[in-house]
Subunit: 246 residues, 2 copies
């Protein structure tokens, strides 16, 4: 049976998140339903990462195995047709080896978090960024962020609902830069804990406002205690950007 | 009475356009209603440009005269409070001279038109860009666009509903560039005719697909006939960016 790798873009606002849920619409469910409409089969779609409700994706990677003989291009076109009007689009599709797995073969994940730093409410960016009215010092945020890079116990930055076996992860990159009134945070690691990016961004926002120092952030990390978390950023500004494979 | 200059950002999707309409919500009406809630007065809000239904603004400029003594900062904050939940935000506010007029003092207007050039439908950009599936040659579009720059009779690129006294306008700039899968068109002039930017972009899209040559575009311009128009681009991708004053 051919296995297809899908690159998926979605607006997370209408969904309970990536994963199929009994209590509301999910991105996974929408794609599985579209696949069933095309081939008549019920085939699970596996993704590189699970995103929370309201979190977006520019390049989520997933795979699906289908018995029906169909070219990757035709599958992409048919999925996009059947996904309408959900704000989900397959932006690339290719066949992969039988043992290639979107989640287990993945060796790196990258997220972007978008903050808009201004007084005025958001209009075109509503639901797609986190507005912070108080002025942010992006350089101070970037400097403090380096305290989190590397191998650490990220218990402080992990949701109590996190299902990961260990809170110890290696954070490869956490970079903060200003672009006009936007403050962009890029995070990369082999894998992340549940809520890790949002929790790190929430605390960096405190640093940017001068309410926390780099030392405070380090202290929160070393506490290894969810109670030490300063702030969890809202899902609105979070984007799953890319998944990396060998 | 103090006169205030407002810089306004809005998502055009829910509105019939800038101008007050009897048959649906408008940006002007929303701002006038918010101002009335603040001061109790009924004061008209005048804008640098009128936008169509579904057209967005990153920096529309308008003015309003209010009897009540209020600082520009407080007016901005109060307008934004009362504008909720409409996707309209006042992003700057200042006092101006009594004879300063957002429309009549304006000496330059700039628009941006965003095309996303890809097969897949839009998700995060739905309603905020024009998707064109066929590959576009942005360089050919830019080259052809230069045929429209300068003083011309733009009858071909003007809505039949246009109320301007003359179809003769000077187009200062029409630049097309590619940025990844986006094709961006920037247009600047002292003033534009109704539908002019959308009509120019529609024809440039034909050039980008190789369906029209630069000579075809020039022929359409010289026809001075709305029937010669190749295509009118949808409002989704159009943004009023700035108004310029002395």
């Amino acid at each position: 049976m051919p296995r297809f790798r899908l690159t998926i873009e979605f607006d997370g606002r209408p969904f309970m998140g990536w994963q199929r849920q009994s209590h509301g619409p999910s991105v996974q469910q929408a794609i599985e339903r579209a696949a069933t409409r095309i081939t008549g089969e019920t085939a699970p779609v596996h993704a590189a990462g699970r995103t929370d409700a309201g979190v977006h994706a520019l390049g989520m990677v997933a795979h699906v195995e289908l018995a029906r003989d169909i070219t990757p291009f035709k599958l992409m076109e048919a999925l996009n047709w059947h996904l309408r009007p959900d704000p989900i689009a397959v932006i690339a599709c290719e066949t992969v080896a039988d043992d290639w797995h979107a989640r287990f073969s993945c060796i790196g994940r990258a997220y972007l978090y978008r903050i808009v730093n201004r007084r005025a409410p958001l209009t075109l960016e509503a639901g797609r960024a986190w507005r912070i009215a108080a002025p942010l010092d992006a350089d101070a945020m970037h400097d403090a962020a380096q305290a989190l890079v590397g191998l650490h116990d990220f218990t402080t930055f992990r949701s109590v609902a996190c299902q990961s076996a260990s809170p110890v992860k290696t954070l490869d990159r956490l970079a903060v830069r200003r672009d006009g009134d936007a403050v962009l945070v890029e995070a990369a690691a082999r894998s992340f804990l549940h809520h890790q990016v949002r929790s790190m961004v929430g605390c960096l926002a405190l640093v940017g406002q001068g309410r926390w120092s780099r030392a405070d952030l380090l202290e929160a990390l070393e506490a290894r205690d969810r109670q030490a978390l300063g702030l969890n950023a809202p899902p609105d500004g979070l984007y799953f950007v890319t998944a990396r494979y060998d």
